[in-house]
Every structure is written in C-alpha cells, then in structure tokens.
Amino acid sequence: MRALWVLRILALAVLAFLLAKPVVVRPDTSGPSRWAVLLDSSKSMGVSDPVRRIDQARQLASLILKKLPGSELFEFSGDVKPITNVSSVSANGRQTDIGMALKKVLGEGRFKGAVVLTDGQQVGRYDPLSEAASAGRPLLTVGFGNATFFKDVAVRSIQCPPFAFKNVPASVSATIGVVGFPGKRITVRLREGNNVLGVQTIQPIGQDVETAVNFTWVPRSLGTKTLTVETDSYEGEITTANNRKDALLDVGRDRFRVLYICGVPGPEYSFLRHQFKSDPAVELITFVILRNAMNVLTVPDSELSLIPFPTQDILINQMPTFDLIVFEEFQYPQYGLLPAVMYAVRKKVEEGGSFLITGGRASFGFGSGYGLPGIYDMIPVQFGGSDVPIAQGPLAFEPKAPNHPILRLDQNSVANEKIWKNLPGIEDVALLPGVKPSATVLGTVSNGGRSYPVLTAWRYGKGRVAVLSTRTTWRWSMLSGKQYGTSFAYQQFWKNMVLWLTHADEFKQVRIGLDSKQLKEGEPAAVRVWTYDEYFKPISDVDLHLRVSSPDHHQQELEVHPETQGVFVASFKPDQLGDFELEAWVDRHGKKLGSDRLSFRAVESHLEEEDLRPNSLLLKEMARETGGRYVSADDFSVSLLDDFDREVSGHGGRKVLLWDSPYALAFLSILLAVEWLIRRRRGLP
C-alpha cells in the first residue's frame, strides 16, 4: 500500500515538473566547434609591467591551445595571420588593430568564438567594439599589462597651426601624459633642431594625468620647420620612444619689408605712404627728398628737420632685408649716389627681390640714372633716348591683362573690368616709346592715336621688376565713386602690386598643393598643381612634370591628369616614413612657365608607442558586448577556460522542452503502469 502511494506521488511530481516546462539543452553538433586564439604581437606587448606582456601571452596561448584541442592560433597587429608556433611570435607590430583581427577571423563563421590575448591598446582603423558585435561570437578577452606597475611619460599630441609667420609669435601646445609619477616634476622642451625654443615644467598630482603645455615661439626664418616637443627620460619608464613628437609647419613672411624712396613730394607720396603704412602686411622704410640744391633757405640747419640721406644705413646695410624697393621720381645721381647703389638693387632683384620704378622725366627722361648699362637691362621698358614727353591727361588707364594679379581688383572678371572702366583717368603720364621683348604690358594709355605702356612688368633673374609711368594713382582714391567702397580700387591695386612683386604664394604661376603637410604612410593622397599664364588665366595647354623625391633620395615621376581648367591632379602613396619633396616644373610653347616645390612628411598611420597603457576597459566592453568574459592574464586559470568553453557550448546547443520528450512521457507512463499492476496483483480497486 505504501509503495502505491510512493508511485502515485512520484507520478504527480513528474507531471507537475513537466507542466513547469523545463528545457534540456542538447549540444548542437552542426555549428562550428573550434576556437580562434588571437595573439597580439604589437610593440606594446613588448612592455614589461612588470612581466613582459608578450612572454606571458605566449605561455597562456600554449596552455589554451592544449586545453582547447582543435583551436586555431592567429597572430595580429596591423594584419592578422594564422600561425602554428607560439614561440615564433614577437612583439614588433606597428599597430594593434583588434577590430580588424576580429573582422577577418570571425567574419568567416569558422569559429564558435575567440580568445583574445592583448593589452587592449587599440591602434588601428577598425573599431573593436562594433566589429566584435558584428561577429556575433562570444569573446574571452584576456588582458595583459598591469597599470599598477606602469610608468610612462609621453607626448601624446602636438597642436600647432600648419602655417606661421616670420617674426610673429605662434602658439604651440602639447598634451603630455604622465602615468605612475605622481608629484614628480617633468621637464618639457620645445625644439627646432638643436635649438631649444622653450622649456616648461609640469608636476602632475595623480597616477594617470594628461596635462596641456603651451609654448610661444617666434619664427625667425622662412621655410618648412620641424618642431619637436620632448620630455626628459625618467627612471622606470616603460618606454622612452614616446617622449618626443614632431610637427611640421611652414613659416611664411608676415610682413613685406618695403623701401620707398621718393625724389619729389606730392600727393602720390602722401597717399602711397599712407597706403603702405596702413597695410599690416607691409613694414615700410621710406625716405622723401624735401628740398634740393636749388631751393633757398635762410634758416640754420638746426631749425630744419632735414636729415642727410642715409645711404649707408638704408641702401647698403639694410638692402638685403628689403622685399620690395620702390623708387618714385628719384633721380639718384642728383643726390650724390653712385650707380653702385643701383647695381646693388639689380643684384637684389637677380637674387629674388623686386623693384618698382614710378615717375616721369626724372625716372625716364634724358640722362636718367636708370639708363646706364647694367641698370637699364633690369628695366622692362625702353626710355632715355630723348626727353620723354609727358601727357598731362587725364587719360584712361586701359588694362591689357585684367586677369593679372596686379589688376585683379575683383575676382569676378566682369566686375573687375567694370571697376577699371569706371576709374578716373591718370595724369602726367610719361609716354614711353616701347617695352622690351618678353616684358608684359599690363596697362596702357592712348594719346594722340597711339597706345603707350603705363604699367609694365617682367621677371629679372629670380626677381620681378615693374614700371609705372605715372604718379597720379592717388586719383583712384580721391576721384573714384563710392560704389566699390571708399578708395577700394586704389588700395586693392597697391596691395596687389606689393603681393605680386614680392612673389607672394598666391601669385605663383605654378603652384603645388597638398591637403596636409603630413601624409600617412601607405595611404594615397591627391597632389594638385595649378598653372596660370603670365596674365594669370588658368591654362591647361602646358607640359607639366611632377616629381617626388623620397627620403632615400629615390626619385619618381608622378602621372598627372587634368582635373579642371588649369588644375592637374596626381595620386601618390608614400611607401616609407620620412621627408619627401614634390617638385613641379611647367613648360609652355617650349619655354619655361614656372616651377614650384613642396615638402611634406610621411608619418605612421597610427603610432603604436604613443600610448602603451593597458586598456582593460575596452576588453571588458568587448566581452560584455558579445556575451563573453574578461579576465586579466594574472587571474587566468584553466578552470575558467573550461567553464567558459562549457558555457559557450551550452549557449550554443539545441533547447528541447521536456514536455515534448517521449522519454518523459514514457517515464510517467511506466510509473502509472507499475502502480496499476501492483493494484491488480493485490486485487485492489
């Protein structure tokens, strides 16, 4: 009787259990059953904090491979590849692209999950979190590196403008990361080559601190500069490779140094002096002759503000410093100056300086001091044969090359021509007989049915020379209408004149351009070349050569393709680190049109050694994102691996409802059948 009750209670219990819908997970033998083991071989794994990360990782990898038979081992840094021998792995990869490794290894669906052995210091293009989520496989992330023992001082980044101006203070700031040196005084220096530009000291108060350090630097010379921010090396530092960082920038002229000598005062001097003085891009040194030998003065010299002509100071000592020399109606022999002064001007122009001569009879008339052999060669117009006639005017200035930078008062060509058409006429124009071959006539006046050059320019040596045969451009300020703004045309004309004569970059006929002065190694970049004719119309009918010189002095010609009118483009992928130089030279109709050079630096896409701190947070996130686990290398154990394997295997099996199981039904049926048989034998109801 007692047995019957036991059977009945047992049957009811089984029924109640089944009604609770318990499930059984059965291993899914149809899916992948193997593990991928990803071993980080980047440089950061070479850090010892205190155990060398890569050594510890190799040991764990061997253990894991033994415990998980059939697992496949991969080594990754900037790329990922399968390996068979753990001991062959060394920490020398230049990236830690965890995301890339997950994408490539797990993307094929061959593995049920991955064990990732890394310090978590992601350096690469792929986002590890999103790639882990996309892979859809559980990750066991094993973190290497111990932040407690980590000590490092690193220049994390430099912030400086890509362009600075000579003699104008520029700001350079850097982010300094200091880990493991709380309270220590850290010295930070800004250098250009061996020249220390500034020193600062910081004293971080925490264990892991980032501090911004600001420097002010005054560039004293032109060209491309490499600035270095560096810190001292400190004992116990995990690496000193990240204690310095470089930045590249171009230093251009902030102000054009202009020497303006005027032989006869008048409104032109008044206006032009004020124009130069008001232009922040111009540093003006000027001298105007206020009297000459024919003037009668009955006062002692002490009552006059006149000073002797500073020949030695200005025309000899300071000559090399001027970007532009302007002589207005300056008959230099009259003041006792020798032609040697003009030969010095010519030399200056030959070496890349610029010279503007304006005026009338004193400049271009018979006996002009500029007509001497050697000096005359520099001037782009013909003059000095006989007394030059002066047209009083007013005469309309007729622009012959409205697109030329000097005459471009408005970027819109229609508007530009309209401005020129509406400008008041000029007066007292020296009617020069002609211009020399290869000179460019930019503007003329018409007088007596004939056209005369009034503004002419050309290249001489490496420099530029212009001739303006009038001294009444001030009328463009006083007499022009208001429609373009007060004195706009006058100011723009003279700004343009200075910029063009001084070879300002925006007025080069051939110009190379890059998006950045620092290109990434292995990544393609577009190189553009702009070409203009002598009137600065964009032109494409040119013979353009573009060459790049590598740091190892290898030269390569780049293939250029026209992009738009006057713009050519070439693609270039730096295949090594270091300083490169681009050089473009352009011929047109068999003559050299111009050339340009541009230097740049190829840098690593991502610098592995910038930050060597272990990043366990990232590894924990990756594990959480995939339903996996994170464990530090120090806490890793075989049992944990087994548990995880089982767990993943379980998660990966087929779920079967016990209610649906025939075995459960059979078991219940047996219980009830036994109970029935016992009652039959005993004759119970």
């Binding site: 006869v264 005062p265 003037n295 009552e303 503000s305 007066e427 001030w474």
Partner: protein, 272 residues
C-alpha cells in the same frame, strides 16, 4: 572745376556783324576740336601740390592774396611742385576731389547742408586733408565751434585733440617749438584723427588753428604787413610762415618725420 583765373578782356560781340559772328563761332569750334584732339584738356593738377580753398556762404576768403605768398615761399624753399594758383571749390563741385589739400578760412558760424556734409566726409574718407584757420583768432569763437560741431557730426566717434608739440606737423620741414599765427589765442592747434584702418585710417585728417595763421602773411600793395603779430612780433610772424609750410608738408608726408630713422637727428637738433 571752379579754378580762379583772371581772364583779360573777356568775350566781345560785334553789333550787326553777323558774318563775323558766324566766322568767329566756327573758328572757336574748330579751335576747340583741334585742341581736344591734339591736346587733351587738362582737368586736374597731376602730382602737383594744389592749394585748395573752400568757398561757402560767409567770409571764406578774408585774405585773397595770402596764397600767392605762401606758394611763392613753397617754391623757393622746397622742392614741392606746386600749381601756380589756388583751386577754389565749393562742396558741390566735383573738382574738390582734385585737390587733396583744402583750406577752410572763416570768422563766424557757418553751417553746411546735408549733401555738403556728406561730400566733405567723403573728401576726408578718400584721403583729403583739411586745414581750418580761424580768422578772428578766437578759440571760443563761432568759427572754431562750427568746425568742431561739423566734424563731430561727420565723425561722431572721433574728437578734436590738442596736437602735442612733438606732433609731425611741427616737424614736417621746420623744427618748431611753439605754435604761431597772427594772434596767439591758444598755445596749441587741434587735430582730428580719423579711421583706424584703410586709407583714411590712422591719420590726422583735419587740423584746426585758432590763431589766424594766414593773417600773418597779409601784405598791402607796398609790401607792408597788414597786421601785427601778437604778442611775439616779427619772430612770431616768421614762425607763422614756417608753420604754414609745415602744414603743407604735413599734408604731403603725414607722419614721415615721426619715422624712426629721423628721430636721432631731430632729437639732437632740438637739444640746441
């Protein structure tokens, strides 16, 4: 352009002379055509210094011959090329822009129309220079007040300032240690600096002299000075000549004498 010129004789007509009249008309037309074709009529003054003077309703010209003596002295003492006669203009005259130097003389209150004020502001904004000289030599007088009120309307964010004795106007040619004029009512001149950038910026564009500077130049037909100079006498007159030359030079050279290259020389001379 209203250039003041004496025209001897003037035009004549002959009564009843129809043919002669026609011939002279044709001749005049032919002459005009020839002149226009071969020799364009001169409208401006080139790069010469032009002594511009404002004509307005009121006592604008108390010393009609002063400019001749001033220009003669400029020609003698300096190398400034000058136009031989003055350019008398009104504010409605476009020719005002032909002369970047403009003298305003007066002895009483004066006012300008709205259009004239706009024109005067344009003149200064484009680079023109104004020298206002008080004929009554009365700093508190109506002329000075009118000039200051006018300029404060034109440049509301600017104000007249006393020009220190090291201002460029006192050093532009002669080294002056004091102000001058027919009667020293104040030991200073005042200036208005306009703008801060651009062509009209950062320059003293208007100078007001309360001491009747031109009065010291006035002579009668026999060459005698008309007015005594008070209180300094003839030395003050001589300084008045020099200051007027300096004002002209200042209009042409601006702050040139304040450039660093001049300073050691000027400071040394001023020590004496």
């Amino acid at each position: 352009m209203a250039q003041e010129k004496k025209v001897p004789g003037g035009s004549q007509s002959r009564d009843g002379g129809g043919r002669v009249k026609r011939i002279s008309r044709w001749s005049a037309l032919l002459l005009a055509v020839l002149l226009t074709c071969q020799f364009p009529l001169r409208a401006g003054f080139g790069n010469n210094f032009v002594y511009g003077q404002l004509k307005y309703p009121g006592a604008w010209d108390p010393y009609p011959e002063a400019h001749q003596r001033i220009l003669q002295m400029v020609r003698t003492m300096t190398n400034i090329p000058v136009s031989p006669d003055r350019n008398v203009v009104t504010l409605g005259d476009p020719a005002i822009f032909e002369t970047p130097f403009l003298l305003i003389k007066g002895n009483g209150a004066f006012d300008l129309s709205a259009d004239e004020k706009i024109r005067l502001k344009e003149y200064i904004d484009r680079g023109g220079f104004v020298f206002a000289d008080d004929t009554l030599a009365d700093y508190e007088g109506a002329f000075g007040k009118s000039i200051k009120r006018l300029m404060s309307e034109l440049f509301p964010d600017k104000a007249f300032q006393r020009l220190p004795l090291d201002h460029a106007v006192y050093r532009s040619f002669f080294l002056l240690r004091s102000v001058a004029g027919r009667r020293i009512s104040e030991n200073f001149m005042e200036g208005l600096d306009v703008g801060s950038s651009g062509l009209a910026g950062g320059r003293t564009a208007v100078i007001y002299c309360p001491n009747d500077l031109l009065g010291a130049w006035m002579q009668d037909n026999l060459g005698h000075y008309v007015f005594p100079c008070e209180p300094g006498g003839e030395s003050q007159r001589w300084n008045s000549f020099k200051l007027m030359i300096n004002v002209i030079y200042f209009s042409l050279t601006g702050t040139y004498k304040k450039d660093a290259i001049h300073q050691p020389f000027i400071e040394k001379k001023l020590e004496f």
